[in-house]
Symmetry: C2
């Protein structure tokens, strides 16, 4: 059944893709099966993280960017991790997307992770959603986050190119610069650049942010007015230029090694934990172990070793 879904999604069926994404979000054995089938087909997409405070207009920028990428014939996936994103607004979403001229276009697929119901954590589930979109042939996957919280930092680790969006007149630009928020960017965007002070903000960013990265990449500071697509072609060009830089400099391979290590550790912890948890569920072993420690009959490590030995022998039977 999962294999049929995968085959349909690979042929471009949007409903099959939506169901696969739900499966990986829900976790468990079905998710493992999807990943087993699709992970080996992934690795080709350009994963672009776009982050910025609420009000920076990053959703409008993503709409505009998606249209620009489509006009080049590229297939686009959008993953919204920001619960305040219009992409996450359920019923309203349909209208807004139609308004932006995206829905009837099979080349754009949007998924919101806003439910936060993901078993095993938001970050791992988001990585799996990215992998599935990648495997079914999206060329560019845009991940939108609001840029706060540990989960979102982890999600940004999955991106090849990070775009940080800011707007003039937010008042706390200097605070944000001091806090180092812009240091994770490969591309800086001053959106709503038709507002006063846009030039000043762009100059401040160029002055106070370290734009020359150790790997030789120079962070461009772009100005956009996303609502009328101004500057968005330049953003597309900058994304492609950063992708090229990653390939040429060997950074992409390093990034992949790092991400592989990260995912292996997460998978190991999840599997080991499941093993012991399941073995404990089948018996009263867990409650008995907690009582043993609480009543000081044995120390935690000795009790843990006993539980593991028991879990392994149950597994071996």
């Amino acid at each position: 059944m999962t294999e049929n879904l995968v085959a349909e999604a690979l042929r471009g069926d949007r409903r099959a893709l939506a169901r696969l994404l739900s499966l990986v979000e829900n976790g468990g054995l079905a998710a493992q099966e999807v990943m087993r089938l699709l992970y080996p087909r992934s690795g080709r997409a350009h994963v672009v993280g776009i982050t910025g405070a609420a009000g920076s207009g990053k959703s409008t920028l993503i709409f505009s960017l998606a249209r620009a990428l489509r006009s080049q014939g590229l297939k686009v996936g959008i993953v919204a991790v920001d619960p305040t994103s219009p992409f996450s607004k359920g019923a309203l979403l349909g209208d807004r997307i139609r308004m932006q001229g995206l829905t009837s276009d099979a080349g754009v697929f949007i998924r919101s992770m806003a439910s936060r119901g993901a078993i095993g954590g938001l970050a791992p589930a988001t990585m799996d959603v990215i992998t599935v979109m990648d495997a079914v042939g999206k060329d560019v996957i845009i991940v939108e986050t609001v840029g706060a919280g540990q989960d979102e930092v982890e999600v940004m680790d999955a991106a090849h190119t990070v775009v940080v969006v800011t707007v003039p007149g937010a008042g706390d630009e200097i605070q944000a610069i001091k806090a180092g928020i812009f240091e994770i960017a490969h591309i800086l965007v001053v959106n709503k650049a038709d507002l006063p002070r846009a030039d000043i903000l762009a100059r401040q960013l160029a002055e106070f942010v370290n734009l020359d990265k150790p790997d030789g990449w120079h962070v461009p500071v772009l100005q956009t007015v996303a609502i009328r697509d101004d500057g968005v072609d330049e953003l597309v060009a900058a994304l492609q230029s950063h992708r090229e830089h990653l390939l040429q400099s060997g950074q992409l391979d390093k990034l992949r090694q790092g991400q592989a290590q990260h995912r292996l550790m997460a998978a190991l912890k999840e599997q080991l934990w499941d093993m012991v948890y399941q073995a404990c569920q089948e018996t009263d072993a867990w409650e008995e172990a907690v009582r043993t420690i609480a009543e000081r009959r044995a120390d935690p490590i000795t009790v843990a070793k006993g539980l593991i030995a028991r879990a392994l022998s149950l597994k071996a039977v």
Copy 2:
């Protein structure tokens, strides 16, 4: 050898105790052996967490509290997790303690965790240090933290009674109240109460902090001038009254169950991780696994399952 050290520490040998504490801080098999021998002897001490910002005079308060407890014949352990604490200042510490009339007193033992060199994390190492002091017969163990950071929150979970120390005129009292910092307290102390505004601060705390806890405990708001021992006898009485409340209400048992569960989960994760890590170290399995994932030859969960199966079969040999 460890058994000899344990026997000497149980007889009250301070150098043996110091060496045991170093063993548990360094982790590994020696730490496990110490815990195996001493954990079953622990569980009698009253663990008191004392937290407050730098400048609140909490170290002076702890000196004064330790002397008051000693004068009742109680044995005292002090664990300083705050790196800015005078207890953590190495060379200077000797003088300061002598000055406070504590060193020549075998009933007080001080340990600083400020090196942060603990393998496996500060919080687990601190819990083990508390357990060892408890097992060798300290009646009250005072844990000093600066009250910021995840590690310190975890350390406070190990305490039976949490004392939050504040001072008048710090300026940001209302901010701190809003941030809920005082909500974790079982006892609130306004130290340096000879300063102006001490009464106002005490009244603000009584007004804006929820002093009536769900378990029926009413949080007292005490005023102290630790530098001249004013109000410290009242603090001792409040500590003993809270301990009594925990015993009478059955809360102490609940607390112990919760802490046991917490320690079991930490021990399980540590043991499982060690098992797989060791098995990987002995071979090139880890590097090969990372490469397999990076090159998309297989998905992370499948690779993790393979590593675990391998680790377990090596274990079984």
